[in-house]
Symmetry: C2
Subunit: 352 residues, 2 copies
Amino acid sequence: MQSSDIKVQLIEESKISQVDFNNLPFGSVFSDHMLECDYKDGKWQTPVIKPYSPITLDPSAKIFHYGQSIFEGMKAYKDAEGSTLLFRPLENCKRLNKSAERMVIPQIPEDIFMTGLKKLLEIDNNWIPTKEGSSLYIRPFMFASGNGFHASPANAFKLLICTAPSGAYFAGKVKVLIEEKYARAANGGVGFAKAGGNYAAQFYPTQLAIEKGYNQVIWTDDNTHEYIEEAGAMNIFIRINDTLITSPTSDRILDGITRKSIIQIAKDSGIDVEVRKITVSEVIAAAQSGSLKEMFGAGTAAVISPIAGFGYQEKDYDLPELENPLALQLKKQITDIQTNKAEDPYGWRVKL
Amino acid sequence: MQSSDIKVQLIEESKISQVDFNNLPFGSVFSDHMLECDYKDGKWQTPVIKPYSPITLDPSAKIFHYGQSIFEGMKAYKDAEGSTLLFRPLENCKRLNKSAERMVIPQIPEDIFMTGLKKLLEIDNNWIPTKEGSSLYIRPFMFASGNGFHASPANAFKLLICTAPSGAYFAGKVKVLIEEKYARAANGGVGFAKAGGNYAAQFYPTQLAIEKGYNQVIWTDDNTHEYIEEAGAMNIFIRINDTLITSPTSDRILDGITRKSIIQIAKDSGIDVEVRKITVSEVIAAAQSGSLKEMFGAGTAAVISPIAGFGYQEKDYDLPELENPLALQLKKQITDIQTNKAEDPYGWRVKL
């Protein structure tokens, strides 16, 4: 597919003058255009770029009933020369298709995804924020638009790509609660997929944690609640002495693109990285002995989010305030690559 | 709330003449009207009954991204005198609210639900099939209509009640596969809720089972795969000799209304009923010794669905063909109560 194959319908009057780019929320101001692509009659149709506008669906569309939906999160940046940059975009497309397979949603060809995304970013190029810490958050999503009250896969789907100029996902220090009762994912379930239902399932326990003064939940395995898994919106890294530890991915844990980039950057910076199961008891023991130096989350929306403290079994544990934490070193390294302030030895950065 | 408080907008021309009531599919022909009720500004607004028509939503509506949705399944019947009958409708409303709590969706007041449902059935009364084995399938559902790409609960929701004159859910004999790898629900998860995401999560393993010649999957616990849980669209009953066994409900298993009605009817018919955990090995041993007499599923859509055979570890097991199986006895008892062909000592039947 070529860029010229995409149908384009431009907005009559841009909304951009109404946007305060110095005070951007996360993901709630939307750019002028969106990409829409329908799957029907057994194939993906020609994508259309059109003004950001409502979607109309039959009340029996399976998205409303059976949660057959998946999404991705990506970011576009501008460098000092004004070029548009993406970070490992093919990884998002690949993961979208992994999620699609598990949720019985048809695979989206890489060329439709990449060509469509690039064209959308050309058209809404002015919407990419340049202020440090801001970016254009990109939300590709696919859902069942086919109809019927039979609990079986739909025969029609939609892919949309919407974008939202965004500021930080978390404001201020992040405190987390290590979960002992609720669980995010089952063995043999869909935890590794960016499936819609994985997120709504976290709302209630997260709300309980927020009521207790925490920002997020760190999920543990559903069987023993003894192993650290992920934080729902982020993978989790734990630094004990000078070793950085993160759980291996599994069918319960999302294969985070920020996560694997951080592992690579940390290893190449000479940091001792261990990808292995880590128990809550190990973390508690490290906190008590003083060897627990840092915890941080890593994800596209949050980038790297240092954790100031955590709660477990009605007790709070503070993380030490370090002068030069790994979290901030690694955050600088990855954002410098993303925004073209540093060399990119990995070929991760894609200039449009 | 009174019936007269509901706003009504009638269809200009009914579609009913286009429907072949002798050949009804399940859940894909829709009645003339639907009920719609919006939750915004912290409260449920006045419900509206209007022609069955498309729903329009912002692309950032959280239903598309985070699977914040729940539903119910109910049926309306006509008796010989032409009265409209519901079966334990308040139980559906209560379960909808249980699901709502877990998915951080606001509670729907019982009077909005019941008054709205009754008025909808008055208006579309001609859509209730009278043919044996057919009924008006009722689908109440609630979903997040509020906007934003932040993974947190929405602030606006919709309740809809749509109806579909329907025939049988399963056609022919049902063969099931006892699952050993995939899982439907986690401990501490949302398996007990009728949450949308629970259903899409089952599509892939179910598709694999269908490719092997089965109709449904019988889910086992995600940790050991040793305990029988439920079938996704049905709870499961197993008859060993003259004892009927079904798994206790839990945070992983749906508290089925047909399930608990069958338990009650069976007990009152003098059948030995055990609500207890049942292992796959016990079922296999019973199949091998000949003491496994019946297996059947129970749910609103499927009513009682006798299972003809099951697969486990690449081996198929046939259930015996009995002359007067409990499944059919109990199915007759429950449908006779539902359709006013028998006394209802329980007060389950609700005449409109």
